[in-house]
Symmetry: C2
Subunit: 359 residues, 2 copies
DNA sequence: CTGTTAGCGCTTTCAG
DNA sequence: CTGAAAGCGCTAACAG
């Protein structure tokens, strides 16, 4: 029994270890380990004694050592395109909630849509022995992910528009969302319903949304009216401005509108359109109901407040984390795709059609 | 020499280790270790050989093992109130940039302004042996941080409004910012400059800003005009709406304004005010110049686009990370406070006074 | 019910 | 210029 064992733990920079606890409790480190993990039975009396000593000395197991020994870290890697994007942080919050409960730690890193960065980060996280990988958003391609994932880590994809992945995916049903939006507007009495947004072959979301619009009308035996469809080929870059310009140009040449409601591919587009209409002295929602998509925080600050289709980002993140943790513990990865429904958030930019007869 | 050493590394789930590399290269693991770290000289020839084998076998050192041995992880803990807040993620981006360059890994967690959660997370990160802690935002109190920081980890505070901390702090000079804003407006010809925002004894930022306003005027021998000062005692909760109401009520009872420029404590407040003025048929910036504070992404989407005071969040995060890493490597922590300057972003909601004579 | 001991994969003396 | 071996703090057979 060495003599200076007691003062040792007083040093701030060398925390007390399992060995110290064992010594103080007069048991082996094995017993301490088991008292903590419950892996095997420890006599209640000694267990209590150990626990007390642990508490008194503020002992915390060294997770690094545990990880090395157990080959598992309870760390999850989250890879997303841009930490500054509200969509991803919403999803992140849902993930955080679940992982905190399950006592996992999160390592988050941004790729800025660069697949090479993504590859590097996967390798990096691999060497850190994360227990699983969560991808939020990102490019359509995942070949590099599969290739870089040497250890065959469990992976879950959230809101990543890949065709066929081999990994479980959490997505939103955009087509269904817009079909519902059409029905929603029809219920308010609207029949002349327009659509504005970009459509790009490479962007499945944009196609789903547009198809939802067409399908929604067809379901109700309404034929789309091309003059109320504002389409931009490709992806809108500065969508707020582009949308403003499209509507503004239209109004300058046509002087009036022949629709009573407009579905917008995103909130930004909706806000741009809203602005253009108002600048041209149309009253929203009196003359036209406008519906956005996404429920960005900014859509709460328009005037009138934007009605929009809200996406359950947090819930999606939550589910993603659940599935990931599940597949870490159960080892058998389910490769199913989970589709989340959206909700229509009725604020002030939409209203019943007949109410507009006042003017 | 055992016979099946070669196939072993082919197993996907048991990555190749330093031992494997050593065996393949016919050297000791010590040599491999040093070839990698450069800690001591290794004959160039063997070094190249080792490096090639490492590359061919895609060997990555196990960071967990390294950490256990070196008692340092190259992991940094970042604690912030809310991952969904644009301000924090901006700062985060600056941090990320620096830490990525320096090859540190980030563990990020949100507290939602709960000091207990914060305490837990510090302890958690402690057991994970992070090398340093970065606090973004949060409450005024840091006693629990000091208490929980058993290992005396290097700490840097960003945008946390504490009085005296003992930790290096990265802050913004709010008072100076508003003084500059006053000067900026004066340069545009404005003399009747108003102010709108909350003021709370407990909120140093709000006080600094208001004082900056008063001081800015005084510096130019202008006496503040109380009817142009819209103050709310305490913190504004729904600032956009509250601001809208304050202005709207004022206009309903006064019918006109007696100022030509208005400084707003935040962009949200500015946007609410902007809305109220426009609803009451005032032209911005024709009748009134409006200046926000913070440069939220949303302020780009108003009409007119909001002129605002921009805070160098990314730079602040960057510097914070630099200082933290510095104090990790140098061990001697500088406790200085670093004050960052702001920039006035002139967009469309402010203009020269005389231009408004057109109406 | 408990202890001994061999690792986990790496770094780092110490020794040559 | 290079190796052997101890050790980081913990877990988990194996042994009683």
């Amino acid at each position: 029994m060495d003599k200076d064992s007691k003062n040792k733990s007083k040093n701030k920079n060398s925390p007390v270890t399992i060995k110290d606890i064992a010594r103080m409790a007069g048991v082996s480190i094995t017993t301490v380990s088991h008292a903590l993990s419950g892996e095997r039975y420890v006599k209640e009396e000694t267990r209590q004694k150990i626990l007390k000593i642990i508490k008194d000395n503020n002992y915390k197991p060294n997770i690094i050592a545990r990880s090395l020994s157990k080959k598992t870290t309870r760390i999850l890697g989250v890879i997303l395109p841009d930490i500054n994007n509200y969509i991803y942080t919403k999803i992140l919050k849902g993930i955080e909630e679940e992982t905190a409960r399950e006592d996992y730690i999160l390592i988050i890193s941004s790729t800025y849509f660069d697949d090479n960065v993504e590859t590097n980060q996967i390798e990096r996280l691999n060497t850190l022995f994360v227990d699983g990988l969560l991808f939020i958003g990102g490019t359509k391609d995942i070949k590099h992910i599969i290739k870089a994932n040497v250890r065959d880590l469990p992976v879950v994809l959230v809101r990543r528009p890949v065709e066929d992945s081999g990994y479980p995916k959490i997505l939103v049903d955009n087509k269904k969302a817009i079909i519902e939006a059409v029905n929603f507007l029809l219920d308010l009495g609207h029949e002349k319903i327009g659509y504005i947004g970009g459509v790009d072959d490479q962007d499945k979301i944009s196609i789903d949304k547009y198809n939802g619009y067409i399908k929604g009308l067809e379901n109700n035996k309404i034929r789309p009216d091309s003059k109320n469809i504002f389409l931009k080929k490709g992806i809108m870059q500065d969508s707020h401005k582009e949308s403003y310009d499209m509507i503004n140009n239209y109004l300058k040449t046509n002087n009036k509108i022949d629709m009573t409601a407009l579905i917008c591919k995103t909130d930004y587009i909706a806000l741009g359109a809203l602005d253009a209409f108002q600048r041209n002295n149309l009253v929203i929602p009196g003359d036209l109901s406008i519906l956005g998509f996404g429920n960005l925080d900014i859509s709460e600050h328009s005037n009138p407040k934007l009605s929009t289709i809200s996406i359950p980002f947090e819930q999606m993140g939550n589910t993603a984390a659940k599935i990931l943790i599940e597949s870490i513990t159960n080892k058998k990865v389910k490769k199913e795709t989970i589709l989340f429904d959206t909700t229509i958030l009725q604020r002030k930019s939409t209203q019943k059609l007949r109410m507009s007869f006042k003017s």
